[in-house]
């Protein structure tokens, strides 16, 4: 869903770029009609939801970020104090750094594995059953994913450590060790999202004209050569889009970290930015401060979204 939403954003870019959709010209031909009363009735639930849970809170969020607010007494205006404090808060910067560390591990491994899987499926099979099975980890709550792997990677009884012991490699406290915890969480989420990402890339590959591969085969090109000279260049726009969409999702890592922190606790080594905001807001009740941090994160994600839209425009002209 995180990805679907982000894709929505990109499709919106198309819409906004072309306000004169096909329906507009057809509409003019028909008898002029005004459905305004019916239209507003149709829109009541959505407009109410939008105003109460998107518009109003967006304004409130900005206002809270300028206040000192502990949920009990009313917010007290403090100007830009929260932002000044953020800039000097080593914990905030550390959280950003940890998040970037996680994102790099997660995205690089996830994209590579997904690309490999998608390419193999594309050249070997159209099996729906296989795709469905690869999708399973994505359908499962992140909380469950975290639990499964905390158990599989348990230092004493975990299956993976049994394997390592059998191979004489010694055991690792994957979630407990500050050095291992973040890479472990990164790889766990790679496990959870690789199938989903692979299916998106696979869908992109299906749009590559098959005759390209046929003529390349006649010319004697091997599969590796075809992948480099046909699949990768043709997939580039889709690849770029999936990459940015995954990046936006990856920056919002929370569930796995929250469960790991509750269970085995590697402390600040896994305190990502979402978790930092969560702690500030709901453990220390620094609502104003947390809102300021959330706004900074929103800006980062906003920049990524703009990049995504630019990529989308580029990809459209490419595929035309």
């Amino acid at each position: 869903m995180r990805t679907m939403r982000a894709e929505g954003r990109s499709q919106v870019a198309e819409q906004v770029a072309e306000p004169s959709d096909a329906g507009a010209s057809r509409r003019r031909r028909a008898r002029p009609r005004d459905d305004r009363r019916a239209a507003w009735l149709f829109l009541i639930p959505v407009l109410a939801g939008f105003a109460i849970f998107y518009g109003y809170p967006a304004v409130r969020g900005f206002w809270y970020s300028l206040t000192d607010y502990n949920l009990l007494s009313p917010p007290a205006y403090v100007g830009a104090d929260n932002y000044a404090k953020l800039a000097q808060d080593p914990q905030f910067w550390h959280a950003l750094l940890v998040t970037v560390y996680y994102v790099v591990i997660n995205i690089v491994s996830q994209m590579l594995f997904a690309l490999l899987l998608a390419a193999l499926m594309h050249r070997l099979t159209r099996s729906v059953a296989l795709r469905a099975m690869l999708l399973l980890p994505w359908l499962v709550p992140n909380v469950t994913v975290a639990l499964l792997w905390i158990w599989l990677l348990d230092a004493d009884l975990g299956f993976v450590n049994h394997l390592l012991k059998a191979l004489d490699l010694g055991t690792v406290g994957f979630f407990a060790s500050p050095d291992w915890a973040m890479p472990t969480i990164g790889m766990v989420n790679t496990w959870a999202y690789t199938g989903y990402t692979a299916l998106l890339l696979y869908a992109g590959m299906l749009q590559i004209p098959p005759h390209l591969y046929e003529s390349a085969a006649i010319d004697g090109a091997g599969e590796v050569r075809m992948f480099r000279s046909i699949t990768l260049p043709m997939l580039r726009p889709v690849l770029a889009l999936v990459l940015v969409v995954s990046l936006i999702g990856s920056f919002q890592i929370f569930d796995t970290v929250a469960v790991a922190a509750a269970g085995r606790g590697a402390g600040s080594a896994i305190r990502v930015i979402y978790y930092f905001i969560y702690q500030q807001a709901f453990q220390y009740f620094h609502m104003g401060y947390a809102s300021a941090a959330a706004l900074v994160l929103a800006l980062v994600l906003g920049v990524l979204t703009v990049v995504q839209m630019l990529l989308l425009r580029a990809s459209r002209s490419d595929l035309a």
């Binding site: 869903m1 679907m4 939403r5 929505g8 990109s10 459905d35 239209a39 507003w40 149709f42 829109l43 639930p45 959505v46 109410a48 939008f50 109460i52 849970f53 998107y54 109003y56 809170p57 967006a58 409130r60 949920l71 070997l124 059953a129 296989l130 469905a132 999708l135 399973l136 980890p137 359908l139 499962v140 709550p141 992140n142 469950t144 639990l147 499964l148 158990w151 599989l152 009884l157 975990g158 299956f159 049994h162 496990w191 199938g195 299916l199 998106l200 992109g204 599969e223 889709v238 919002q252 469960v259 509750a262 085995r264 905001i277 969560y278 807001a281 959330a294 994160l297 929103a298 906003g302």
Partner: protein, 290 residues
């Protein structure tokens, strides 16, 4: 040579499939293991003494002594209730959100009224707002309305709309042929009649697609239910699993119970995958990068 290449490619796919599915096998294997065997069986592929007791005890179907004997802490857990809560939570959100967004999508696609483009643009702009930014104020709002630990508070922010669903369904309604709707109008149907009797029935596919993805999203949701629905009566599976882990002793977590609970959180989506897998898989092409 070519044969070897194909074979090794299949081998890589097979490894990927095993890596994908094995953790789920291990989860079920552990859930079927008596707590007393946890240590002895920790490397075994099959439980030496398979049992359903872990499921029974987390569903609250055993007595306290039986629960303790089976490795439970004796703390009250009632996964039957959490499972039901999760089903209600995702079911409510998926059905109502899809319906309301279909109404709005239809209005934006088909009905004529001044300001249509502008209002649509404003609603869609909400796609740019990351969830974390509205999360804190929404929590304050729900708290001030005294809706903490109520289903209403839990579903409120998502039951009426998400910008993506509005956008997605509007796109679909734009692509529907107009003739049928025009004919229904000439037969004397008002806008609601056309929508309800003609357009909605023609939209089963996209409605199921968006309903499915919303169901999955709500099923996986953790942070919002954690903040707003922590208490027994509204606690969903994801929150319950987190609480269960926290309550079980750090040195010797109740893994057989935790894996039984995890299995409960996987079963419904597994059923979804078995019965609607084709549609789910194809929806990734449909809504995807095109």
């Amino acid at each position: 040579m070519r044969r070897i290449g194909t074979l090794s490619a299949w081998a890589v796919l097979a490894v990927a499939l095993v890596l994908t599915l094995f953790p789920f096998y291990w989860m079920v294997r552990t859930a079927l293991t008596p707590a007393a065997d946890l240590y002895a069986d920790s490397g075994a592929l099959f439980p030496s003494h398979p049992t359903m007791v872990n499921f029974l005890r987390i569903l609250g179907l055993t007595t306290q002594e039986e629960t303790r004997a089976a490795g439970g802490s004796g703390a009250r857990i009632d996964f039957a209730r959490y499972l039901l809560n999760s089903v209600v939570y995702s079911g409510l959100i998926a059905t109502l959100q899809t319906f309301f967004c279909a109404m709005a999508g239809y209005a934006f696609a088909r009905l004529r009224f001044p300001g249509r483009q502008f209002v649509f643009g404003v609603v869609i702009a909400a796609l740019m707002v990351p969830p974390i930014f509205t999360l804190l104020p929404n929590f304050v709002l729900v708290k001030n309305l005294d809706l903490i630990n109520t289903f209403l508070g839990m579903v409120a922010p998502t039951i009426l709309m998400t910008p993506f669903a509005v956008f997605f369904l509007r796109q679909f309604f734009l692509s529907l042929p107009r003739d049928v709707e025009e004919a229904a109008r000439l037969d004397g149907n008002g806008p609601w009649g056309v929508f309800w009797r003609v357009s909605l029935p023609m939209s089963r596919g996209p409605l199921i697609t968006i309903g499915l993805t919303t169901t999955v999203w709500a099923w996986k949701d953790y942070l919002w239910p954690l903040l707003v629905g922590r208490e027994e009566q509204t606690r969903v599976l994801t929150v319950a699993l987190g609480v269960f882990l926290q309550q079980s002793p750090n040195t010797r977590p109740d893994w057989t119970g935790l894996m039984a609970g995890s299995t409960l959180s996987v079963l419904p989506v597994l059923l979804l995958l078995i019965f609607l897998g084709r549609r789910l898989v194809q929806s990734l092409n449909f809504s995807g990068i095109k």
